[in-house]
Every structure is written in structure tokens, then in C-alpha cells.
């Protein structure tokens, strides 16, 4: 296998990791958003549902981010270093958000119900769940926006400007809105499994609202791309359009299925939409890893380094895939189990 193919294979694996992080880890952030927005008389009930849904899986979901980061580091070291430099601020914000979100979630299950301890950590959990997707989404937009210039080993990127372009703002909001949508649509499944009609309605409504917002923002994103990133737009029109269409179909289908209360189908449709956005993004900016200077081929580590990495990925995925299957089977399995996960 030539180097060229190998680096593409690894990039696809990293893209797959990113898709899964968005679908799974993103939904955990979305859960935090709904947790913060839980204000009505049902708030304690909503929070319990959210906590029970996130509790067993969030750490495993979170590892997808580590997979993406370390995969990038090992396979595309110069891109990793350049992004660390260029996106210093949004990554720093995301780190703070990730740390506080995870710790706050673990801490708040303690303490007495309604105590100051629990209220404080609940607040921290919610705010961090909003900030993190915004920052990560903005960083993703920066990679495509063409504001990170690289010449040799020198990276030129404004500390603030590189990730606050119109494109970054749209991708940041899209990340947040889509996380909220994913969470709400998964929570309808949890609610149906537990036979909680009221909760099902609450989250169905929220899924419809946040899904519609996501769709509008995504269209706005296309508009912005056309106006400010001609290079990306060109790639979109010539190569990536099937994925754009597919993501639109997936998005509309997920909204429609939620409206029709076919929640499990909605999950599949949402996964199709997210996967095609990630793939379409990659295809649109091909051959660049960081627009407009660093190509995938230039950023790739030498073949000697990629071969053991690809081998490690293969073995790793063979171990992780059945384990994940088991995890979701135990906690998110068929509707026959209506009891709540217990954490004694």
C-alpha cells in the first residue's frame, strides 16, 4: 500500500472518530444544554432523565475526542502542531469547558438534592456544555475558513481573528444547535423506554425546535461559504454536493421522523446527516487539511510512521467496537428494560 492511500485511510478513520464524537459526545453536551434550560415545574424530572442517560456512557463517548486528537498528532503531526498554535484560544476555552463539564457532572450527583453544592455544579455543568461545542465548532470553521496560513514551519494566524470569521460563528452555532437536537431526539427514546409520556413530549418539542434551528443555520452556513470562502464553495459545487444533499435529506428525515414519533429511525437519520456533513466538509476542502496552505499529503507523517499506526488502529477498533456494542446494549438496549440505571 502506498503512503498516499495509507494517509487517506487514516484520515477517514479520524473523520469517522469525529463523526462519532459529534453524534455521541455531542449529544452529551446537548444534554447539558437542556439541563441548563430546564426551568419549568418538570425540571427535576428532566434532569434525572438527562443524568441517567448520560451517566454510563459519557466517558466512553468523550474518548472519541482523544482518539481524534491523538490520531491527528500521530498521523499529521505538522497539522496538529499548526492547529495548536493557530487555535490556541478556542482550544483553551474548549479545554476549560471539557474539564468543568466532566467534573461538574461527576460532582453534582453527590450532595443533597437542592443543596447549594448541587445547584452550583449543575450550573457549571450546563454552562460548560454550551461553551465547549461553540468553541470546538468555531475551531472547525477556522480550519476551513482559510484564515490559518502556513509557510514551511511558520504558522501565521491571528490569535482572535482566525476563529471569529463569519464561517466560524456559523459552525460554532451549528455545533451547539445540532448537539441540542441530537440530545433531545435521543432523550425521546430514553423517555419512551421508561414509559414517561410527559418527558417524551417535552423532548420531542425541543428536538423539533433545535432541529429546525440546526437546519436554518446549516443553510446560512452554505450562504456564508459562498460569499467568504470561494475555494471551499468551489469544492462544494464540484465534488461535495452529493454529501450536502445527503445531509439535507438526513436532516429533514430526522425532523420528520421525530414529528411522527419514530424516534429510533430519527437517530439513524441524524447519524446520516452528521456523517455526511463531516464527509462533505473533508471532500469540499480536499486536498487541503488546513485551508489554504497545508495539504493532506504534506501534513502526513512518513510511511514508516503511518504503517504501525494503521495497524494499531485496526487492532484497536477490533477491540473497541464490540466493547462499545456491549456498552450500548447494556444501557441503551431494547425497550424491555424499563428500570433506570442505578449508581450506588
Amino acid at each position: 500500500m502506498t503512503t498516499f492511500q495509507l494517509e487517506v485511510v487514516i484520515l477517514v478513520a479520524i473523520g469517522g472518530g469525529l463523526t462519532l464524537y459529534w453524534l455521541l459526545g455531542g449529544a452529551d453536551f446537548g444534554g447539558g444544554v437542556w439541563d441548563l434550560l430546564a426551568i419549568g415545574p418538570l425540571r427535576e424530572h428532566e434532569r434525572t432523565l438527562i443524568s441517567d442517560a448520560i451517566g454510563p456512557v459519557w466517558e466512553a463517548n468523550h474518548v472519541w475526542l482523544i482518539f481524534v486528537l491523538t490520531g491527528l498528532l500521530a498521523a499529521f503531526p505538522s497539522a496538529f502542531a499548526s492547529l495548536g498554535f493557530a487555535l490556541y484560544v478556542p482550544f483553551s476555552i474548549a479545554i476549560a469547558g471539557i474539564v468543568l463539564r466532566g467534573a461538574a457532572f461527576a460532582f453534582r450527583s453527590w450532595g443533597d438534592r437542592g443543596s447549594a453544592w448541587q445547584r452550583t455544579w449543575t450550573r457549571v455543568f450546563g454552562v460548560a456544555s454550551i461553551v465547549t461545542p461553540l468553541a470546538l465548532g468555531a475551531a472547525a470553521g477556522a480550519i476551513a475558513s482559510g484564515r490559518i496560513h502556513i509557510a514551511g514551519s511558520t504558522v501565521v494566524a491571528s490569535l482572535w481573528g482566525s476563529w471569529t470569521s463569519p464561517l466560524s460563528i456559523v459552525t460554532g452555532i451549528l455545533a451547539l444547535a445540532s448537539c441540542a437536537f441530537l440530545a433531545a431526539s435521543y432523550l425521546t427514546v430514553e423517555a419512551t423506554q421508561r414509559d414517561e409520556r410527559e418527558m417524551e413530549e417535552v423532548f420531542r418539542r425541543r428536538a423539533l425546535v433545535s432541529g429546525a434551528v440546526s437546519g436554518v443555520v446549516a443553510m446560512l452556513g452554505l450562504l456564508v461559504t459562498r460569499n467568504v470562502s470561494p475555494q471551499l464553495w468551489h469544492g462544494m459545487l464540484t465534488r461535495a454536493w452529493p454529501f450536502a444533499v445527503l445531509s439535507a435529506v438526513g436532516g429533514i428525515a430526522s425532523l420528520w421522523t421525530v414529528a411522527r414519533r419514530r424516534y429510533r429511525l430519527a437517530r439513524v437519520a441524524a447519524a446520516v446527516a452528521v456523517a455526511s456533513v463531516v464527509t462533505g466538509w473533508g471532500v469540499a476542502q480536499w486536498p487541503y487539511l488546513i485551508v489554504p496552505d497545508l495539504t493532506v499529503a504534506d501534513a502526513a507523517a512518513p510511511a514508516n510512521a503511518l504503517r504501525p499506526l494503521a495497524f494499531g488502529f485496526a487492532i484497536g477498533i477490533m477491540l473497541v467496537a464490540p466493547s462499545l456494542f456491549l456498552l450500548f446494549r447494556v444501557f441503551k438496549g431494547s425497550g424491555s428494560e424499563s428500570d433506570t440505571p442505578s449508581y450506588h
Binding site: 500521530a74 471539557i98 467534573a103 494499531g312 450506588h344
Partner: protein, 430 residues
């Protein structure tokens, strides 16, 4: 970064070690049906839940931080040393997935299936520690590449890099340290309980399980530590000189125990000197020449005062813990039970924090002893660090967040320790 790692290491060590104790306690509980074992197991599982949550997120900080702070390190060396980081992600996956199953699956799995789910947690934890430490070992003794005249790195061999000369000893040293820290911490919790008069079977067992793990490993760690020292003597002579406070290259080098290095005068005062001791420890021959700090320019030396003192403290803790083990062994041989006098329990209570002091000091020795290099002999720390502003803000913010989290976590664990055991027994029954 240094603060992040220093923070992470505490949680990571416990997260690596605690699953082994859980497996043991749950095995006993399942075999004997004894609710005390189950109560211990449930209690430790809750603690593990908190520790891994904080360990997981502080570990994520590190994967970001590699790019944020050290673009010069990762851009140049990522192809050589990225592999263990990528593999670590899989080890962590296994750990996190099965931890979810373990912590939340009590009612969803049969007792033995639940017990089995604990194994991947323990193995995944040890494997992630192994992978991460190989990367640090590589920074001490970089191999698996060649450099050409313009400084480019060529002929990359990541497997060779991962299995560099420091890897076997350093990974063992760290994993044994993680188990020791876990054992002594658990022991300390129950020692304090017993000192407060709760001398029931629950506390006795908790103390015994923790201490036996810690005490059994203490002498092992001295042997491993000695091997680590000899490796440093072979490969990183300046670092050894800093650890030992040896200023001039000397044959028949004495071993300095304690003492304060005075950089301005180029000597170490107030230490106890064992003639030829250092030569013998480092090279197995009391007459061997040991290289001193004077072989390199002052700019190429690490901070001798800090490295020497940290090393002395670590070694002192190591021997003190082994001494505690000897005490316990003597009593056990004579009376067939662990000592439970007030003084022994006090010592056991202090041993918990002491292992963490040793852990942090060991980390200081490894990292600061390597300075001014980030990749020993290849890249200087100053060339690898980011040129972005605001490192000071980052540092302050990091310390503030970690102090907050550390305090919150400590408060929770103390609360957990104080919760009356009846709850634990009830949990076990239900």
C-alpha cells in the same frame, strides 16, 4: 502543562490501581457472599467513579496541551512519538467503556459478569499508563529516528521509539508506583477510621487489603528504582549528577544522602557521605568514575537544588514505606495478624499522602532532571514551547481550576469516607 500533569498523575495513579482492589474485593464477595467485602467493593467503586471522571478530563487537557504549548515538540517529533498516544486512546476506550458498565451495571449483570467487566477496566488502565509513560521514556532516551544536517528528522521508526531503552524500567516504575499509591491511600483511609475507634471487621479488612498491596510492592519498587537509577547513570549522566548533587566528575564517588546543593559554590553541603557508594550503585564498582555537573556548561544543567532534593525525598519515602512493610512483616510472623497499635496506624495514615509526595517528587526528578532538554539531547524546551502570549494567564487559570476541582474532589471523598457504613451494607444487600 507541568501543573496539568502533576494534577493528572494523582488521579491517574488511583484510577490505574483501584480497579485491582475492586476485583479482589468483589471476587471475595462473590465467593463468600460476605456483605463486608461487598460493602468495601461498592464504596471503592463510588470513589473510582469520581477519580476516573476527573482523571479523564484532566487527561484530555494533556492531549490538547501537547499541541497548544508544545507545537515545536509535536511538529518535529509527532511522527516518531505519536504512536503511543494514539494507542493510548484505545486503551482508554476500553477502560472508559467497561467502567461505565461496571459502575452502572450492578443491577443489569449477574454478579460474575459484573466482576468480569472489572477486568478490562484494570487492564485498560495499566495499558494506558504504559503507553503514556513510553512517550515520556522516549523523551529521556530518544531513539527510532535519524537527523540530517539541516535538523530534519528522517528514517522514523515509531515502534523502536516506543520501545526505547528507558521504556521497560520507567513504565514498571510508574505502574508499581500507581499500585503502591492506591494501596497506601486505601490503607490510610481505614487506618484513620480505626484511630477514631472504628475497629470493626470492615475497617480491618480495608486496612489489610490496602496495606498488603502497598507494603508488598514497596521492596519491589526499591529494586525497580535502583534499575531506573542505573539507566539514568548510563544514558543521562547530567541528570544523575543533578539527582545526586555531584558537581565534579569523580572516581570513587560518594553517595550523598540528604544535603543541600549550593550552585554558587558548586558543592553540596550537609549531606551524609558514603564513600564509593554512588560509584557502586551506578556502575557496580566502588572505584567507577561518575560524571559530574562540571562536564556541561551551567546553561545545560537542570535545576540542581530542586532535582536533588526531590530525588532525596522520593528515595526517603520509598525506604520509609519499605520499613513500614518490615514492621508489619515482623509483627505478622510473630502474631499472625497485622499490627494494630496506635503508632502503626498513625504510620499507615501518613503513608497514604507520603506515596503521593513520592510520586510527585519522582515526576519532578524525571521532568526537571531532563532540562534544559524536552527531548534529551535533541530539542530544547525553550525551542519547543509555543510563542503565543498568555501562558501566564493559562497557568493561573489552570491552577485555579485544579485547586477548585481538587478541593471539591477531596471534599467528596472525605464525605464518602465519613458516610456511615450502614449505607454501604444496605447497598450491598440491595
Amino acid at each position: 502543562m507541568a501543573v496539568s500533569l502533576g494534577f493528572h498523575i494523582v488521579f491517574a495513579a488511583l484510577a490505574v490501581g483501584l480497579p485491582a482492589l475492586l476485583l479482589f474485593a468483589e471476587y471475595r464477595a462473590n465467593r463468600t457472599g460476605d456483605p463486608v467485602w461487598m460493602a468495601l467493593c461498592r464504596r471503592w467503586a463510588r470513589a473510582l467513579g469520581i477519580l476516573v471522571a476527573v482523571g479523564a478530563v484532566s487527561g484530555t487537557v494533556l492531549s490538547f496541551a501537547l499541541g497548544l504549548f508544545w507545537p515545536g515538540l509535536m511538529g518535529r517529533w509527532g511522527a516518531v512519538i505519536g504512536l503511543p498516544f494514539a494507542l493510548e486512546a484505545f486503551a482508554f476506550f476500553i477502560e472508559a467503556i467497561f467502567l461505565g458498565i461496571y459502575l452502572f451495571g450492578w443491577d443489569r449483570l449477574s454478579p460474575w459478569a459484573h466482576w468480569a467487566a472489572g477486568w478490562p477496566v484494570a487492564i485498560g488502565g495499566v495499558a494506558s499508563a504504559w503507553f503514556v509513560v513510553t512517550a515520556n521514556a522516549w523523551m529521556q532516551t530518544p531513539t527510532g529516528f535519524a537527523t540530517v544536517s539541516d535538523g530534519r528528522v528522517v528514517d522514523v521508526q515509531p515502534i523502536t521509539a516506543m520501545l526505547n531503552p528507558s521504556t521497560p524500567v520507567m513504565t514498571t516504575h510508574m505502574i508499581v508506583a500507581a499500585y503502591m499509591a492506591t494501596g497506601f491511600t486505601v490503607g490510610a483511609v481505614y487506618a484513620i477510621g480505626m484511630l477514631k475507634g472504628r475497629r470493626d471487621v470492615y475497617h480491618r479488612r480495608g486496612l489489610a487489603v490496602g496495606l498488603v498491596l502497598g507494603l508488598a510492592l514497596a521492596p519491589v519498587q526499591i529494586v525497580v528504582g535502583d534499575a531506573a537509577g542505573r539507566l539514568v547513570a548510563d544514558r543521562q549522566q547530567v541528570k544523575l549528577a543533578a539527582m545526586e548533587g555531584l558537581w565534579r566528575t569523580t572516581a570513587h564517588a560518594p553517595l550523598t544522602i540528604g544535603g543541600i546543593p549550593l550552585p554558587s559554590q558548586g558543592r553540596t553541603i550537609l549531606g551524609i557521605r558514603i564513600p564509593g557508594g554512588l560509584s557502586w550503585l551506578a556502575y557496580g564498582n566502588t572505584g567507577a568514575v561518575v560524571h559530574g555537573l562540571d562536564e556541561v556548561a551551567p546553561a545545560d544543567r537542570p535545576n540542581v537544588v530542586v532535582v536533588h532534593l526531590a530525588f532525596q525525598i522520593m528515595v526517603a519515602m520509598g525506604f520509609a514505606l519499605a520499613g513500614l512493610g518490615l514492621w508489619a512483616l515482623i509483627v505478622w510472623i510473630r502474631r499472625r495478624h497485622l499490627p494494630d497499635t496506635k503508632w502503626f496506624l498513625r504510620a499507615a495514615a501518613v503513608a497514604g499522602p507520603a506515596t503521593f509526595v513520592a510520586l510527585e517528587m519522582g515526576w519532578v526528578v524525571t521532568e526537571l532532571g531532563r532540562q534544559p532538554w524536552i527531548v534529551y539531547g535533541q530539542t530544547r524546551t525553550a525551542d519547543a514551547v509555543t510563542s503565543r502570549p498568555g501562558i501566564a494567564i493559562w497557568l493561573v487559570a489552570t491552577v485555579a481550576i485544579y485547586v477548585l476541582l481538587g478541593a471539591a474532589c477531596a471534599w467528596l471523598l472525605l464525605r464518602l469516607a465519613r458516610t456511615p457504613r450502614e449505607t454501604g451494607a444496605l447497598e450491598a444487600a440491595g
